[in-house]
């Protein structure tokens, strides 16, 4: 497995080029397939491939997300701009999807990145740094908890908005349905007469 340095760099350069023309779409419905994504984006870009992100770490009900590789960088820009300026709906209303430029760390199958600091040390009990390292660990754990708390908070906010919108939608729908009924069965004419409103303008 000893690839030469040049090979590693070349591989990574190829990878970076791929990253540049890939976009990251999230707030996707779990029901959306790659076919749907392809069709959806066809108005501004040609989709080469799409890979859905598997959730390994978040213990909540989260929207789906995908890395979508497009034909070239300019298409990627076009897509991101479009979805930033306008609400772009895929597979369900009214919540739009979000698009961003992909980053290398999003690709779980990425090649090695040359020049990373992989210096490893053992800091055992009794070493002068031991306490400090332990505290750093504690800090990392606390931060992870904060992150999860924020995620939970966000998801709850979204749920609230969704519920509220659904209620409003239902109410509005009932209203329109009622009106439609009345027009259909003539009730509306009776009401008009009662309130002395002339429905039929010339």
């Amino acid at each position: 497995m000893a690839t030469s340095d040049e090979q590693v760099e070349q591989e990574y350069a190829d990878f970076e080029a791929r990253v540049k023309r890939t976009i990251y779409i999230d707030h996707l419905s779990p029901l959306v397939t790659s076919q749907i994504i392809k069709a959806a984006l066809s108005q501004c870009a040609k989709v080469v491939s799409s890979e859905f992100i598997v959730n390994y770490t978040i213990p909540y009900d989260i929207p789906a997300a995908a890395l979508v590789e497009l034909e070239d960088e300019s298409q990627a820009k076009a897509a991101v701009d479009l979805m930033h300026d306008f609400p772009f709906i895929i597979g369900g209303m009214p919540r739009p999807v979000r698009a961003a430029y992909a980053k290398p760390e999003m690709f779980r199958n990425r090649p090695r990145r040359p020049g990373l600091d992989m210096e490893l040390r053992w800091v055992k009990e009794g070493d002068p740094e031991y306490d400090g390292m332990n505290k750093l660990k504690m800090l990392a754990k606390r931060q992870a908890a904060e992150q999860m708390a924020l995620v939970k908070n966000q998801l709850e906010e979204e749920e609230e908005l969704a519920t509220q919108q659904q209620e409003t939608l239902d109410e509005n729908y009932k209203k329109y349905a009622m009106l439609e009924d009345m027009v259909r069965n003539g009730e509306i004419d009776n009401l008009a007469r009662h309130y002395e409103i002339n429905l039929h303008h010339d």
Partner: protein
């Protein structure tokens, strides 16, 4: 064997039947290849090109058809090859004999693919199996008492009636005990000398290979190939047994790590011929194991590795979690790729694993990289966890880890925020039209109710993005200042 720089010795042994559609096939009961005598049902090594580790099999048939010499080999499996079907303890030197029907039971190979003989002793308590003496067991290269059915992928210690159409008797221990024979040395003396002698010249051939394992892999064939002209010529059953292997070999037998530079057949064959001379000077008798020269023929065994390809990642996660081999590592640099993590584990712990970074791009903190690492055994996973937690620091980041998969819910049906209109009075066709309208992707137009609602969402997510970036920046700053404080 044409076109090779040197011709490897070969001669046929006793003939058996003739066969084939045109009566052009001659079956044999034995042959001598590079001065090693092979007979039916002997256990042999076969090399696969590029793989430092040989396969082990039993010769079921030997024949020549036109110019081609072939053997039919019944396979043994190493514990690693059937890892996913194994449960419970595995004995030292244990391998598993294939049984049943299907792919992976037996294969036809060119005779030149054989790389040497080895001894495999059967420990089964079945009455058909002659119980081996303790000495036989000790000197054997491998032992087996379990059978792996390739048809239904199950392990069993029950001896089947037949394997590959053959009565199982011929596949168990031969009736006579295997004896080491040397013309002018007693067994003990030879063991010592051979052991020492074998290890000494070998490191030369190992010079190109940085890892011990290939050395070890070569040794077994060496010690297996003891036959000497006088002994061999004896037509009676005094067969040649393997010499107790130098300790190096015992490690070599289990699968080497992926990182061992792939040693090709070519390397081996280039080194071997010269050693042939040296060895025969150092030690009386044992000839060098025939390593088929690549130029000769496809001197390699049928590629078996594809039958046991590693499980796809997601399945591997499940399987390894159940077996306690899965470790969840945190606080990595988010830039580390899968191979970086594998390399890191290898360097820090001298353990092999499969690993992948698993951060969710939307919901995980980019300051804290998370990964799953799958080890070969529960023990390895346990060792890894205790060592990493005791104080492994990478690039200034103290890692921490725990065992097992995180509990993640399966995603539910629709997205939160995708609204539905519930109307029982709609006709079927209306419902379908509506469904189509909803699922057609589009840019929301400003003159619709949908647009206003969509804007609500865009607002929410903008706020969300801001909150996350503020939090992540805070985290990054905290880490930096903390590191500075503890005087790194």
């Amino acid at each position: 064997m044409d076109g090779s720089s040197e011709n490897i010795q070969f001669s046929w042994g006793n003939k058996r039947a003739k066969g084939g559609a045109k009566m052009d096939t001659q079956f044999y009961g034995s042959f001598t290849f590079d001065n090693v005598k092979y007979s039916l049902y002997d256990s042999v090594y076969l090399f696969k090109n590029g793989d430092p580790e040989p396969y082990i099999g039993k010769i079921l048939k030997i024949w020549q058809q036109k110019q081609a010499k072939k053997v039919k080999i019944l396979w043994f499996f190493s514990p690693d090859e059937i890892r996913s079907y194994l449960s419970g303890p595995v004995a030292e030197k244990e391998i598993f004999l294939a049984s049943g029907d299907g792919t992976g039971l037996a294969d036809i190979n060119p005779l030149e693919a054989i790389a040497g003989k080895c001894t495999v002793v059967c420990l089964s308590k079945d009455e058909r199996n002659r119980q081996p003496t303790p000495r036989e067991q000790e000197v054997a290269d491998y032992i087996f008492y379990r059978f792996f059915d390739v048809g239904n992928c199950t392990l069993s210690d029950k001896v089947p009636e037949k394997i590959g159409g053959l009565e199982v008797n011929s596949l168990l221990n031969p009736k006579d005990e295997q004896v080491t024979c040397y013309p002018d040395q007693d067994t003990q003396g030879v063991d010592q000398k051979l052991g020492a002698g074998l290890v000494a010249p070998l490191p030369q051939s190992a010079v190109e290979m940085e890892d011990k394992n290939p050395v070890a892999a070569v040794t077994p064939p060496q010690s297996g190939a003891i036959p000497l002209p006088p002994a061999v010529k004896e037509e009676d059953k005094a067969k040649v047994a393997a010499v107790p292997l130098p300790p190096a070999v015992k490690e070599g037998v289990p699968k080497p790590t992926q990182d061992i530079p792939k040693r090709t057949q070519k390397d081996l064959s280039e080194k071997m011929p010269s050693k042939k001379l040296k060895l025969s000077q150092d030690l009386t008798g044992p000839s060098v194991v025939p390593v088929p020269d690549v130029k000769v023929h496809p001197g390699q065994a049928v590629d078996r590795s594809n039958w046991f390809t590693p499980l796809p990642w997601d399945q591997e996660l499940q399987a390894s979690d159940e077996e306690g081999r899965l470790v969840y590592i945190q606080n990595l640099d988010i830039q580390f790729a899968a191979s970086d993590i594998v390399e890191l584990i290898r360097e820090a712990l001298q353990l092999t694993c499969r690993a992948r970074p698993i951060n969710h791009p939307t919901y995980d903190d980019p300051n804290n990289g998370k990964a799953y690492a799958v080890f070969k055994s529960k023990k390895a996973a346990d060792v890894a966890i205790s060592k990493i937690n005791s104080g492994l620091v990478v690039g200034g980041r103290p890692l921490y880890c725990s065992k097992g998969l995180l509990k993640i819910k399966k995603p539910s049906g629709a997205l939160v925020g995708h609204l539905t209109i519930s109307n029982q009075k709609m006709s079927q066709r209306q419902r379908e039209d509506q469904k189509k309208a909803v699922s057609t992707s589009h840019c929301s137009q400003p003159n619709t109710i949908e647009y206003d609602l969509a804007l609500d969402w865009m607002l929410v997510r903008e706020k969300q993005a801001r909150k996350f970036s503020i939090l992540h920046k805070k985290h990054a700053d905290e880490r930096k200042s903390f590191a500075a404080k503890i005087g790194k």
